[in-house]
C-alpha cells in the first residue's frame, strides 16, 4: 500500500511523564498542513521531533522571527482534535495556548462542554476559547462534531468523522476517522473493551471501518494498550491490555472476512499508543506490554510501537 499520510508522534505515553503524553501530528503525505490528534504534550514533543530532524522532511513556512517549534505551531498545525478531556490528552494544549496561533478545537460536544466548563474557565486556566466564562481570549474556536458526520478541517485537504468510544461512566472518548484523497487513518482515543464497558462502541466502529479495510484504503489504526495482561478487568479503568486488544481485532477480522478471519487483517498497520509506564527500577511493564502484544499477534498485524519525535509514513 502506497503511503498516503505522514505522522509525527509528539507524545506517546499513557501517563506519568509530562514530557511525553498522547499527541500526534497527521497530514496527507504531500502536505505540510497537519492536524494535532490529542494534545497531552505539544511543545516538548515539537522540540523532540525537531532535535531528531523530523522537520527537515517537511517544507516549512519561512517566518524568521519564530523558532522551528513556533513555526509548526503557527503555520503547520491547523486544528486540534481532542478525543476526551482527561488531562494527559489536553495539558499540552493549555501549555501552548498563550503562544499559539488561532485555530479550531474539534471534538464531540461532550468534550467541548468539559473543556469549556472545567478547563478554559479562568479557574484552572484562562479562557483562551471563543465561548464560556468571560473574558474570552478567542485563541481557539470550538467546532462541535456530530457523530458519524464528515467535517472538513479548514485550511487542509482532510476531513474527519467522530465516533464515541466508551471510557467509563463519566465521560466518552472519541475515535477520529481522518480522510484525505479517499485514504483513511483511524485514531482511537482511550477506551476499554466492549465486554468490560458493557457497550458496543468499538464493535460499531469496526463496522464503519471494515469496508475501508476491504477496499485497501485504511492506512492505519491508532489504538491504546495501557496495561499488561496481568491487570484484572475490574482495575482497567476503561483501558486495554494486549490480550483485550487482540480479542477486539479478532472481532474486526471476522467482520472483514468471516470465512478467513486469520488473514483478513494481514499487514494492517496498528499503531500502539498510550502504554502506561510505571516506577519500577527497570521499567519492566512497558517491555512486558510490548512482548505480550507481539506474542499474541496471530493476525499478522503490522504492529508499530509509536515513538516520540520520529517521522513516519503510513
Amino acid at each position: 500500500m502506497q503511503p498516503k499520510f505522514r505522522w509525527i508522534p509528539l507524545g506517546v505515553k499513557g501517563g506519568l511523564d509530562e514530557s511525553n503524553l498522547s499527541s500526534h501530528l497527521i497530514a496527507p503525505i504531500d502536505s505540510n498542513k497537519f492536524v494535532c490528534l490529542d494534545a497531552g504534550t505539544v511543545y516538548t514533543g515539537l522540540q523532540a521531533a525537531n532535535q531528531k530532524g523530523c522537520f527537515s522532511k517537511i517544507e516549512l513556512s519561512t517566518d524568521s522571527g519564530l523558532s522551528t517549534e513556533g513555526t509548526i505551531l503557527h503555520h503547520h498545525i491547523m486544528a486540534y482534535l481532542i478525543s476526551h478531556p482527561y488531562l494527559d490528552h489536553i495539558e499540552g494544549l493549555t501549555s501552548v495556548s498563550p503562544n499559539d496561533f488561532p485555530k479550531p478545537i474539534m471534538s464531540l460536544q461532550g468534550t467541548i462542554d468539559d473543556i469549556k466548563n472545567l478547563l478554559f474557565n479562568w479557574r484552572l486556566w484562562p479562557n483562551f476559547a471563543n465561548s464560556g466564562t468571560p473574558p474570552l481570549l478567542g485563541q481557539y474556536r470550538y467546532i462541535p462534531l456530530k457523530t458519524g458526520e464528515s467535517t472538513k478541517v479548514e485550511q487542509t485537504s482532510m476531513s474527519v468523522e467522530a465516533y464515541p468510544l466508551a471510557h467509563g461512566q463519566f465521560t466518552d472518548s472519541t475515535a477520529f476517522l481522518v480522510e484525505s484523497d479517499s485514504a483513511y487513518i483511524l485514531y482511537m482515543g482511550d477506551t476499554g473493551p466492549d465486554e468490560v464497558e458493557k457497550r458496543s462502541t468499538t464493535q460499531d466502529l469496526w463496522k464503519r471501518i471494515a469496508p475501508l479495510i476491504k477496499s485497501n484504503t485504511l492506512h492505519g489504526i491508532f489504538i491504546e494498550t495501557s496495561y499488561p495482561d496481568e491487570r484484572p478487568d475490574d482495575q482497567l479503568f476503561s483501558h486495554l491490555t494486549p490480550r483485550w486488544l487482540m480479542h477486539s481485532f479478532h472481532k474486526l477480522a471476522s467482520i472483514v472476512d468471516a470465512g478467513n478471519h486469520l488473514e483478513a487483517l494481514q499487514g494492517l498497520k496498528v499503531i500502539i499508543t498510550h502504554i502506561k509506564p510505571d516506577l519500577s527500577a527497570d521499567n519492566t511493564v512497558t517491555e512486558t506490554i510490548k512482548r505480550q502484544l507481539f506474542s499474541h499477534n496471530d493476525l499478522s498485524l503490522n504492529l508499530i510501537i509509536a515513538e516520540q519525535g520520529r517521522y513516519y509514513e503510513l
Copy 2:
C-alpha cells in the same frame, strides 16, 4: 548565613514547555524529607535532577523495586503545597497521581475547592483525592490551611504558613512561609504588583517577613518574573516584570530599614521563577528578563535564576 535548606527545582518556567513547569523540592539541609512546592512538572523534573546527579547528595531510602524517581516520589516527597490551581502549577500532580504514594495536598481552601470541583472530578481526571466526586481513590488527603496559621507538615520537621496573593479576579494565589528549626524560606506563587492588582497582599506579606530579614533567619524568597519590562500593565495577567519586582523589593527594604533602605536587603537570596518563554527563534525574551533583573538590582539582592534539576543550598 549558614545554609539551612536544600532546594531542587523540578521545573522553573512560566509556561509553554510541559517538561519544565513550576515545581520545587525543599527540605531542611540535614533531612531527606521534602515538600513539593507547586507541581507543574514533577516526573520529568525528577528525571532531569537524577540525570544531573542531584540525588547522589541525598541519603535515599532503599526500595529496590523502584527507580530513583519512584523512590523520591514514594519516600521523600511528603506533601504537595499548591499555590493556586492553574494547570502550569498542577498538571504534574495529575501525571504522577496514579503512581504516587499517599500524601497530603496542603493549600488555602479556595485552591482545594477548585482542585476538588474542577480537576479531581472524574471529568478532567480521576478523583485521586479523599473527598469530592465519588468514587474516591484516596491517594491524596486535602489539608486546608488557614491564613497565617502555622501548620506542621507531617513526617517532616517543617511547618508552613500560607498567605493569599492577588492573582486576578477569579482566583487567589498563595505564598508559603516554610519554617524549620527557626529558619525560613518564603515561596511566592504567581502574583501581580499590588498597584496593578489594587490589593495589598504583597505589602502585607512584606510586613510578616520583615522581622525575619532583620533577625537573619530568612534564607530565601522565591518570586516570579513572568514578563520583560516592555509588557504593558494592562497585559500583565497578574504577573511581575523586573521593574515591578524591584519596585516591590524597594518597598520591602523600606519596611526592614527605612533609614537605610538601599542596604537593608543586601545579599538577600531572591530566587527568580516562572520566566515565560516565547517562540522567538533566539529565545530573546528570557535573556531580556534576566538582563533587566540584574541591571535594576540597586539593592544588591543575591539574585538566583532557578535552573531545573540542580541541587542548591539556601
